[in-house]
Amino acid sequence: MYALIALGYTMVYGIIELINFAHGDVYTLGSFFSLAILGMIGVDGVVHGPAGILIAIGVIVLAALLCGIVGVLIERLAYRRLRNAPRLAPLITAIGVSFILENIMQLWKGPTPVPFPQFLPDPHFSAGSVSFDAREIIVVAVSVGFMILLQIVIYRTRLGKAMRATAQDRDAAQLMGINVNATIAWTFFIGSALAGVAGFVSGIYYGSTFFYNGYQAGLKAFTAAVLGGIGNIGGAVLGGFVIGMVETMTSACISDQWSVVAVFSILVLVLVFRPSGLLGEQLPEKG
């Protein structure tokens, strides 16, 4: 799941070199949207059979669409004007956007965790001594599915080609007739839509959501993106799984309280010793 959020970070950073602090909050927004949609169609208890799966797919698509639109709006209203401003300006703006989103969500659903309806049946499976929930399988399946989809979009479509060109050299891409603004807007759309999917998945998995979730989840996902090598899609996926493991291991072996410390220590260590990440290439600082 961190991998899904990390993908959005990596995409945006890859294309305009901006750490989108608001991304974690778009993710929370995704779970809130899913919640609202489920509320609107009146899903409360467990829905068995294909109906449940249909609902799940519908909610994912809608939540992703809404989040994508929010992402595009953020880019259009806040970041686009600052594209050529000094480096710190967009970063600070991103923090501001993140705070605004958090507050909107707090006003919307209140300052306490909100329960998320568990409408999918949840049978247990066991293979030998290992047992797992259907829910966990859904999380993994959805994540992997969207990653494959993203890979296809980036490497097999015109839009993907335009995105890669813009990431390499914005001016040259423009000269080649690529609509850079539209490409960047699409990048935000896809990244935010993935965050929306992650938001839905997290709601299903944890059974509740909270307006402040996105902040820490966003930070951890960013750690994942950096760990894998920022700007690198495969790296983001790998980093996401590693971070998830580290978190679980620390919780299990030391104590739950230290898992945050462990994750951020990894972030610091990676940035200090291998700033290009596990799969990244060395990038000189751009001026």
């Binding site: 401003a85 600070i92 501001g96 705070f99 605004i100 707090q106 410390v261 610091v268």
Partner: protein, 373 residues
């Protein structure tokens, strides 16, 4: 740009006579304030603005002067506060004197600034932001988890209050008020001199162009480290007074929102500008301690008068962080130099408008005004 430089250079100098007069008037007003306004809660609110202004000054060194985005600044504040609280409370049954601890805590915070800075300052700007953000998360977590030493989630209570030549400060806000005025005043003098010293100019050179600065013989790493340590020491100092005034500290007072609030004040006032930092700090703490609670009261009174449950349910203090967020975004979009910009920052951000021959006149009009910092 060539036209801009001499102007900005002349304006970048020390305070002019007119500004000194303004400053003296401000100081007199500040000194007399508790005598005129007998409302202890008002004095207390202004005193609370004091620690905030100290934080703003400290972060202004890091963000404004040296151009390093530090998002974990509250961590140093926490370190300063906890350093004092641990050695001046029943926690370890130590009761160190308040005054030397001011210096000691500032040094401890600076030391942590060095420890964090040494490995990370070689990173690119936005990575640095993330690492400091992570650090800002780790420190309160550590204080939260090390409950043997720091009291865990309850924090440390009954922290010793300062005693000045046998005169105990107690819970009376007035002595703290004067202490803050003194500290802020000292910092203004210190910062004003620091800004134009060798190290201050080196910070700004690094902010503008790190590569060029290095070619001029500036050691980028040590210069940045200095900025980090200095900024951290201000936060450490603020932390001690804060802990002593409140007599109670707990880990959740030092979370990310503190860092962002301080950042919002700097952005609002103008990055790298001394008066701007002062103004931004005062404005935001007024907003925090006076305006929002007051506005909420008024709306509630109004709501009672017209029997509106909607108005009664409003609490503006809940919107605080949205306001900070809006400040950050709107200032960055529409006035990136802040309310009272430093001259060089303004020149930098409006270079294009000033480039043409027409702009030269505009520049005269804009920069020719004496008395603008």
């Amino acid at each position: 740009m060539a036209r801009v430089m001499p102007h900005s250079a002349s304006l970048g100098g020390r305070l002019t006579g007119k500004q000194w007069a303004l400053l003296v008037a401000l100081i007199v007003a500040l000194l007399l304030f508790p005598l005129i306004d007998r409302n202890a809660s008002h004095v207390s609110a202004v005193a609370d603005a004091g620690y905030f202004v100290l934080l703003v000054f400290g972060l202004n060194i890091v963000v404004g002067f040296a151009g390093l985005l530090d998002l974990g600044y509250a961590a140093f504040f926490a370190i300063g506060a906890y350093t004092y609280a641990m050695v001046a409370s029943a926690q370890f049954n130590l009761h160190f004197n308040f005054w030397p601890m001011l210096v000691v805590s500032a040094c401890v915070a600076a030391l942590f600034g060095l420890i964090l800075g040494a490995p990370t300052l070689r990173l690119r700007g936005d990575y640095l932001a993330i690492v400091t953000l992570g650090f800002g998360e780790i420190v309160p977590q550590v204080f939260l988890n090390l409950d043997k030493y720091s009291g865990g989630p309850n924090g440390i209570s009954a922290v010793d209050q300062p005693v000045f030549f046998g005169h105990a400060f107690g819970f009376n806000p007035i002595p703290y008020y004067y202490l803050y005025v003194l500290a802020v005043g000292l910092c203004v003098v210190l910062l004003n001199n620091l800004r134009h010293s060798r190290i201050g100019r080196a910070w700004m050179a690094i902010r503008e162009d790190e590569l060029a600065a290095q070619h001029m013989g500036i050691n980028a790493t040590t210069t940045k480290l200095m900025a980090f340590a200095m900024g951290a020491s201000f936060a450490g100092l603020a932390g001690v007074i804060y802990a002593a005034k409140l007599t109670l500290i707990s880990p959740d007072e030092f979370n990310f929102s503190v860092s962002v609030t301080v950042l919002a004040a700097i952005v609002l006032g103008g990055m790298g500008s001394l008066l701007g930092a002062l103004l931004g700090g005062v404005l935001l703490s007024l907003l925090n301690f006076l305006i929002l609670p007051q506005a909420t009261n008024w709306v509630h009174e109004f709501g009672t008068a017209i029997h509106s449950n909607l108005l009664l349910g409003l609490d503006f203090t809940n919107y605080r962080f949205m306001i900070y967020g809006l400040i950050l975004v709107l200032v960055m979009l529409f006035r990136p130099e802040g309310l009272i910009p430093s001259a060089s920052r303004r020149a930098e951000l409006h270079a294009e408008e000033l480039a043409g021959p027409k702009a030269a006149q505009a520049e005269q009009a804009e920069y020719g005004e004496p008395g603008v910092p």
